[in-house]
């Protein structure tokens, strides 16, 4: 049985040519976000080009460093120089990149930043990128640096050192260390992780299970995906440490079905860990055994609720159970279980490797450590970033993310999933800490920030969230499955101009009733509507009383009209899917309101001739 020192030695040897390359090194980031833009094809094209053109270079795959807006990213590193990051290297641009490498230059066209402190020619250092500045990358330290499918790369960067330490400590010492660090659950509930592990550790019944909730179902959140596909061993090490600390027998990593690449990479990581003796029977010769397996979900949001996940593991419908008993007493198969989020487990190796004091040295008094956030929606730079807790929301959204597109203003932020409510732009200065979000009727949740700008209607978004809650309801509690349906009906009525003042009271009543639901899915379902009532009542009353949608997003309150004749109208006629743009006998175009489905394609073709009109007139172009 190899010891950790042996593994580390072998890993260092494998990592040396990448840490200090003797010839050009090209790293191609392949993750879900870049794969959809052809990163795999780019990798093949670059490999092929290097071989056929006999360029002195090594090509390797790496994960995603979070700059989704610039994908596919390729890093070029020449001996003795810092790496240069190239953006949008689609397969057809691989040739141009290789031209530069063949000419002995790392900074060809499309260079985004230098992965070092100084600039190179006119390429700025990465720390000057707004998206990068202010980040503190601990969980993401290996993202975009190492090959996620190569365990040696992870070990050479300090991987499994935490596990090695954990094996030499007793369980109580590990949970105490975690408790001292101040790490709380990153899934949204913010419960201290050390204490949670202690519940399982003190349970004497076997088998015990460690379960990782990687069912990141919140639409618009993709932070866990980034860990699993760019640094799968970090999560795996955390899960194994949890198993060692709590003397558990088996781990299940439950990954949602929409994430095929994370499933593949986690499975590869587990396979490698077993082969190296880092998992399975007798971990690193310590006598401790722990099995790990990946379970692939099949598309259900409510399986992201911890007890829903348990039901899903038990071969049944993923219906959340009634608590108590809590999972620590009777979890999967009525055996003691511990369930944590991906990010919670991924922090454990860092705590053990560097100590609780180091880990807790960033963040605020109450909320220590870093947190990953994903930015999406109406924002210039979509991506994943990691900042210390307590960083202001404004800094993350407006500076790092770049705020809404040119000419638009921020309207609201929807943090942490469909059950977490909406926070208006006026509150954007609050720090990213759960307490501040809770005070505003919202929840920080798992870290998916969705940005709304002034073209978006809050009612429209609330209909989506309530529809989502209804669609994904397991069907146990009437207040949830029928309550959300009723909520959707009321909101749709308001959005179609048939809203009544009494509807406001109805909504409040429904929200009140929803607190009686069993699990958080039902309880949290009305959050978005309640925050909408709190912060956007004017906009709601505009819909209800004046039958007008200020952003003209609600289809029931607007119609498309031809304002004046234009030579672009034949294009509109051609694109209309329902032939609603019609020409009368005099050759004049008009829109047949009976046929129009309000998709807006005609207005894309003839933006000045066709307008969105409501009872108050046409929208100025």
């Amino acid at each position: 049985m190899a010891s950790y020192a042996d593994l580390r030695k072998a890993a260092d040897a494998a990592w040396a040519p990448i840490a200090d390359p003797k010839r050009a090194l090209i790293k191609v980031g392949v993750a879900t976000c870049s794969r959809v833009l052809g990163a795999e094809e780019a990798l093949v094209a670059i490999r092929e080009g290097v071989r056929s053109r006999k360029i002195e270079a090594d090509v390797m795959m790496t994960g995603c460093n979070g700059l989704c807006y610039a994908e596919p990213l390729v890093e070029v590193r020449l001996p003795g120089q810092p790496g240069v990051l190239h953006q949008q290297v689609t397969p057809d641009r691989a040739g141009a990149l290789l031209d530069a490498v063949a000419a002995g230059s790392a900074a060809g066209p499309g260079a985004l930043a230098v992965l070092g402190t100084g600039s190179m020619g006119d390429v700025p250092p990465i720390s000057s990128l707004p998206f990068w500045r202010g980040q503190l990358r601990r969980l993401m330290a290996n993202c975009g640096v190492t090959d996620p499918e190569n365990m040696d790369h992870y070990i050479a960067n300090g991987g499994y050192e935490g596990l090695d330490k954990a094996l030499k400590m007793d369980g109580e010492a590990i949970t105490k260390e975690l408790l001292a660090s101040g790490l709380w659950g990153r899934g949204g509930a913010a419960f201290p992780t050390g204490r949670k592990w202690d519940f399982l550790r003190t349970s004497q019944r076997h088998p015990k299970y460690v379960i990782c909730n990687a069912d990141e179902g919140d639409p618009g959140a993709f932070v866990n995906r980034n860990i699993m596909e760019s640094d799968p061993h970090l999560l795996l090490e955390g899960v194994i440490i949890a198993g060692v600390a709590t003397a558990a027998d088996r781990a299940f990593i439950y990954i949602r079905d929409e994430y095929p690449l994370p499933v593949a990479r986690m499975e590869k990581a587990i396979e490698d860990a077993y082969a190296a003796g880092l998992a399975g029977k007798n971990i690193l010769g310590s006598g401790t055994g722990f099995e790990v397996e990946v379970v692939r979900g099949a598309g259900s949001y409510v399986c992201g609720d911890e007890t829903g996940l348990l039901s899903s593991l038990e071969d049944r419908r993923g219906m959340p159970k009634i608590k108590p008993p809590y999972p620590a007493e009777a979890g999967a198969f009525a055996k003691p279980s511990n369930i944590n989020n991906v990010e919670s487990y991924a922090n454990a190796p860092l705590v053990l490797r560097n100590g609780a004091e180091w880990w807790g040295s960033v963040g605020t008094e109450k909320n220590k450590g870093t947190k990953m956030f994903s930015l999406s929606g109406q924002i210039r730079r979509v991506g994943v970033l990691e900042v210390p807790l307590g960083t202001s929301t404004r800094e993350v959204v407006m500076e790092m993310g770049g705020g809404p597109p040119e000419g638009r203003t921020l309207k609201a932020i929807q943090p942490g999933g469909p059950l977490s409510g909406i926070v208006p732009a006026s509150e954007v200065d609050i720090p990213l800490e759960p307490e501040y979000y809770r005070e505003r009727g919202s929840l920080m949740g798992g870290g998916g920030l969705v940005i709304l700008d002034d073209t978006n209607c809050v009612i429209d978004l609330c209909i989506y969230f309530e529809w989502f809650a209804e669609d994904e309801s397991c069907g146990r509690c009437t207040t949830c499955f029928a309550g959300t349906r009723r909520m959707v009906e009321i909101l749709r009525r308001i959005a179609s101009g048939r809203g009544r003042e009494a509807d406001i009271e109805l909504i409040k009543l429904l929200a009140q009733l929803s607190t009686n639901a069993n699990c958080f899915h039902g309880q949290g379902a009305p959050t978005s509507v309640m925050t909408m009532l709190r912060w956007f009542q004017d906009e709601l009353m505009e819909h209800v009383l004046r039958k007008r949608c200020p952003t003209r997003a609600c289809a029931g309150l607007v119609r498309y009209e031809v304002l004046h004749q234009s030579d672009r109208l034949p294009l509109a006629e051609a694109i209309c899917p329902t032939a609603a743009v019609v020409k009368d006998e005099r050759g004049m175009y008009r829109i047949d309101q009976e046929r129009c489905v309000k998709c807006g394609a005609c207005r894309e073709q003839a933006p000045y001739a066709i307008a969105v009109v409501d009872e108050f007139g046409a929208q100025p172009n």
């Binding site: 833009l37 993709f222 929409e258 379970v295 979900g297 929606g377 989506y464 899917p577 394609a601």
Partner: protein, 181 residues
């Protein structure tokens, strides 16, 4: 003669549909090593789904036997998950992302246009059985919002007009008589 005919028709009811025996044999083979209470149901369903691109309803009794449960509970489990389906997919499945990032960038317009253009509502199949619109959940490729997926390819960011052009591209070219009109 009458008796003979009824005898024949009875035979034809008993005889299994073509391919059914092979299908059941294949399903049995796929799930043979899986055990009840061992977190294997999802694995079984994924294997069958991977093989046939849907869960043939005929495999439900086999699953129930393998997992010591009832066909009703197996059906309930399959029905619960949105990525598992009990009918084969149409030839052309256009997947429409329902996520908030897409929604905020006018995916609703794209949905309305696709429904009109393909001739089917969301999660339904067109009347000729060739086109299907499917609602999918956000998988975090929000830098492409609003997007649709087709045969594993992600297409975005899309304008409504581009979505319509895409849907028209899926349809066969109009017959020569129409073109010459």
């Amino acid at each position: 003669m009458f008796a003979n005919a009824s005898h024949n028709s009875r035979l034809s009811i008993v005889a299994p549909a073509p391919g059914r025996v092979e299908l059941l044999a294949r399903v049995t083979e796929l799930i043979a090593d899986l055990k009840p209470d061992d977190v294997d149901m999802l694995k079984a369903l994924h294997r069958i789904n991977h093989e046939f691109h849907y869960i043939p309803p005929a495999s439900i009794p086999l699953l129930a036997a393998q997992f010591n449960t009832t066909p009703a509970l197996v059906y309930g489990t399959i029905d619960f998950y949105s990525e598992l389906r009990l009918r084969p997919p149409a030839e052309n499945v256009v997947e429409w992302c329902s996520g908030p990032a897409c929604l905020l960038k006018n995916s609703t317009g794209i949905r309305r246009a696709l429904e009109a253009e393909l001739g089917c509502q969301m999660d339904q199949v067109s009347i000729d059985g060739k086109y299907e619109l499917r609602l999918v959940q956000c998988d975090g490729t929000c830098h492409l919002a609003p997007l649709i997926r087709y045969k594993g390819k992600y297409i975005g960011p899309l304008t409504t007009s581009q979505a319509i052009e895409f849907a028209r591209g899926l349809k066969p070219a109009p017959a020569a008589t129409e073109a010459s009109e």
